[in-house]
Amino acid sequence: MKPTDIGAPDYFHKVVDCQWACPAHTPVPDYIRLIAAGRYSDAYMINWRSNVFPGILGRVCDRPCEPACRRGRVDKEPVAICRLKRVAADFKDDILDRLPPIPARKNGKRIACVGAGPASLTVARDLTAIGYHVTVFDNGKTPGGMMRSQIPKFRLPDSVIDEECDYIVSRGVETRLERWVSSLRDLLAEDWDAIFVGTGAPRGRDADIPGRQEAAANIHIGIDWLANVAFGHVTSIAKRVIVLGGGNTAMDCCRSARRLGGAEVKVVVRSGFEEMKASAWEKEDAMEEGIPIHNFLVPKEFTHVDGKLTGVSFEKVRAEYDDKGRRSLLPTGEPILLMECDTVLVAIGQENSFPWIERDIGVEFDKWGMPVLDQATLQSTLPKVFFGGDAALGPKNIITAVAQGHDAAISIDLFCRHKHLLDDRPSPLANLVSQKMGIHEWSYDNQVSEESRKKVPSKNLDKALRNIKLELELGYDLRMAYAEAERCLNCDIETIFTNKACIECDACVDICPTECITFTANGEENELRGRLKAPAKNHDQALYVADGLKTGRAMVKDENVCLHCGMCAERCPTGAWDMQKFFLKIPHAGTEVRKE
């Protein structure tokens, strides 16, 4: 194998699995260390810069970071990254004076953002900070978009949304609320320098099966029903409720129904339990509230008497996979199963919908009704119109919307300055700084905690189920937060090898607790992976290879289960190993391209 180029910013970025997995590339270990140090405001600001809504995401993020967490590969469970983010938000001081100043002199450019969800607000934050005049349009009374209308209050209270939206809209962003944008043509006529579309995926998919029309009074589309609950239009539900669908919206529906009087709530999914789209922890939360999940059942008919829903009939299926791994659900031939109920919530997916965008103004759509975009710049075929969030590439999650907001803001800024959207795009800045303080002393806590993951305390369930606005989780207290923060392996403190200093004494090989390091003859990657001290079977994780040693062998380190404990560097007599902190600064709008 060729020696690893550790100068490439992506190399160590990938080693920080959580940061790599985060769409907004939040420097996770960095803020977790600050939480352990009791510097909650600093931890909050690191988050705020990257993901804009730390308090919100600390409660409801889809947390792609946690399945990626290295701790999950050497311990039973990953670090509770998401809930540590909430700790930073819960225990911070007033941070208003830390927010970047809004330039008093504007640059004269006017940007319209349609929708006041996470993507639009991110664009607004990034662009107002560098002198743009941003106007946000939304039909709601308050900003927040789907974060406010779709997520139940017992998971995300309004106060948290208000606070974090306020950091943006109260600082130089013009809002035009309760204003429905019904025509992009009209908006274009208002002569904006650029328009950002962040309208989400507002249409819930319907279950088009017999009985749907007849029993319509007792059948609701999940996201619409959730919005009605969020805004207080719906305050009760019948006793027996069936929720169709297996995504996170279905989990929010069933748990909301449970709190509004649904004594017998059940979730029914077409797929198997394991393949459900909902995150594992959301399924667990639902089941802990006494909601059973029935799987491999395809709804066939809504049964009804006199226009009143009486139940849903299901066909039992099993999953079969073809050679290409595609799944098909085949009937098992068992008799049709009838489940009685009074109300059905349909949460089987969301779709994009752009009835307000005229098809003859230059914004092209593909055959699925999605806008044709440049994936990197998020620019549409009409140069001044940009998309982001669920509206851009289909329904994903808040953190993806934020990341796309950042990208779109960069594009809009470049566009307004007549720069090339790809060639002039700023690249991330990576930095490595030694953490050595003395013999066996590092500026990070390199002792690896052996504690297991802390469960977030919550309110008494009986009490919580009686009030839909009562936030269920209490969040970590400071003692638990510290213990959980200490579980982080500090994957951003990298092992840096200097071949010229190495005397090949094997001290690092002998001390490494997970047997990551091998000195051996170099070879082709697959073959080399097999003959390391501990075979490197995880091909998603890189091998760090260095040559130029006196014996002609290569140093090969398997990054997969490195605990970043620094023991190799502590036992190295010549300083050939050093622990250096990798910091990646992801560019936001206004960052200049480095001149080489």
Binding site: V74, H440, E450, D506, I511, P513
Partner: protein
């Protein structure tokens, strides 16, 4: 300055041996030797050898004297018996222990000071008596604990860290062991575990006195130009006579070698030593030849390594003394005090 213990987090595919132990189960406390000390590599090699051989930790007794090397038994086999003796007296304590309980595996760990200076008499007599043990000398040519004076194994003409030339003749413990009757004699290098681990495995499975001299560079006091015990010097002058593989009776032999290149030696317990020849015409069962080869190559400044001599049919001290089969602590009162009648019979036989 703190020494953190190794975290107890394991990689998910951590291998286990036939007893269900991981390699980590054979480790001891965290080492307090200098970073980069060759002795730590030898400890790691002992850990690996015991793991590979499925050694039950409670069946090992590790004994040592005084010195950097003699500290190391604290750093491996944390669940085995241990005895840290007076300086240079490890061999006699080990001999006594071996007499009392022949069921244990005896591992003596010593250094060049402990064995070649203060304890050379003890070393010599343990070899002579044929004690069934593995005797490892971690040989760095200096007294590390007293700041790096030449030890008795430092080569004549080699330089210390401050440039002083050694004028005394060296003691070659391998040559002594060969002469005094060790039946398994090897030399290796702490920086070459591929060679060292099989040599330790072979020694642990050998009956009779096994001696391994391991050149183990002292990174603090003896790893400079002019030293003949430095990483660089040993790597440049390492003259291996053979490569050993230890094949246990339960293992299938799957490798094949060109005829004449492999020597198979079956030990008393059925384990097989596979020796791949590196030096032409070197015969590891020829004691006189081994001594000659050693002297010739040493005169050229080479460090001869490998399994230098093995006598797979050797007897040990118990056989020489015709001792009782059972360990003393298992004999029981009735056997040890057979009563008045037996005493009278014994007395009568002497009249």
């Amino acid at each position: 300055m703190t020494y953190l213990a190794k975290p107890k987090l394991f990689r998910p595919d951590t291998p286990k041996n036939a007893l269900g132990y991981t390699r980590r189960d054979y480790e001891g406390a965290i080492s307090t030797l200098c970073a980069g000390c060759g002795h730590d590599s030898i400890s790691a090699a002992i850990v690996q050898a015991c793991f590979d051989l499925d050694v039950e930790p409670h069946r090992v007794a590790k004994l040592s004297g005084i010195g950097c090397s003699s500290k190391t038994p604290d750093y491996f086999l944390g669940n085995s018996h241990g005895f840290n003796s007076v300086h240079g007296r490890m061999p006699s304590v080990l001999t006594g222990a071996a007499l009392a309980n022949r069921d244990l595996i005896y591992l003596g760990v010593s250094g060049d000071g402990d064995s070649a200076s203060i304890g050379i008499g003890q070393f010599a007599h343990a070899m002579r008596r044929g004690v069934n043990m593995t005797y490892i000398v971690e040989n760095n040519g200096v007294y590390g604990l007293t700041k790096g004076q030449f030890s008795a194994t430092a080569d004549k003409g080699s330089k210390n860290k401050r440039g002083v030339v050694n004028s005394d003749s060296p003691i070659d413990l391998v040559a002594l062991a060969l002469q005094l009757g060790a039946s398994y004699v090897a030399r290796s290098f702490s920086g070459d575990k591929e060679q060292l681990i099989p040599l330790i495995k072979g020694a642990l499975r050998h009956r009779g006195p096994s001696f391994i001299d391991v050149v183990s560079p002292c990174v603090t006091f003896n790893n400079h130009a002019g030293s003949t015990k430095s990483y660089d010097y040993v790597r440049e002058h390492n003259d291996a006579v053979n490569r050993l593989d230890v094949i246990l009776p339960r293992n299938e032999i799957s490798t094949s070698y060109a005829p004449g290149s492999l020597r198979r030696i079956v030990q008393h317990d059925g384990s097989v030593l596979h020796l791949r020849k590196l030096a032409k015409d070197y015969d590891p069962t020829d004691r006189i030849g081994a001594m000659n080869h050693l002297q010739e190559r040493h005169a050229l400044g080479e460090v001869v390594t490998g399994l230098l001599y093995v006598d797979s049919s050797a007897d040990d001290m118990h056989r020489h003394l015709n001792t009782v089969e059972k360990p003393l602590n298992q004999l029981g009162d009735a056997y040890l005090c057979p009563g008045n009648k037996a005493l009278e019979g014994l007395n009568a036989s002497l009249r």
